[in-house]
Amino acid sequence: MQSSGLPTVFAVIEDEIDLNALLARITLVSTGAAAIFTGMVRGETKRGEERQTEYLEYEAYIPMAEEKMRQVADEIRAQWSAVEGIAIVQRIGMLYPKTPTVLIACTAAHRDTGVFEAARYGIDRLKEIVPIWKKEVSPDGGFWIEGEYAPKAGE
């Protein structure tokens, strides 16, 4: 998959996610629109069994995670050819409620080019194939959250 010099940022980081800086890195002179998704630690969850979260502990298989982020970016470009820049960033470590943990951003010349769908695809796909895990720690103890997706060989 050629990305023809378009900016692609992918990283597993321990510091704060800086939306302003990441957006600037994927903005070209031809860019007019960006769709950005961020996830954050929920301190109170109401869907399913109601629960409180003290913090989440994130862990990644870093080199593989970064390769899979690159793959997600390639898949986005293959589906939405108008996308210009892509940023995919996961923060790891101990993260407290309200803290942004993940960012997917896609830029394009115009907003009707699929940038919203591309960002949505990016976060869905990250949650399927990028090797990152979170342990939920509450006043009652901790448990690892397990995903539901089983990637095929070579996926």
Binding site: M64, K135, E146
Partner: protein, 82 residues
Amino acid sequence: MNRVKLLFFAALRERMGTRTLDLDLPAGLTVHGLKARFLDEYPEMSESMKSVLIAVNREYASDETLIPLNAEIGLFPPVSGG
């Protein structure tokens, strides 16, 4: 012999009590064979291995995947990032 490096993550890492394990395998072994051999040595991991994902040199593998020489093999639960 084929010396491979196993890397454990998340719940598997915690249950193993280690992040890495070097293992000597016979040449020509598949992922399926590796799993059997690993469970022989670590039967206490059988529950964790039921939903395990295995990456060989950072690519998702199936039971039929052949394990190359000196492979890096990741063992982990279905991912839950984001």
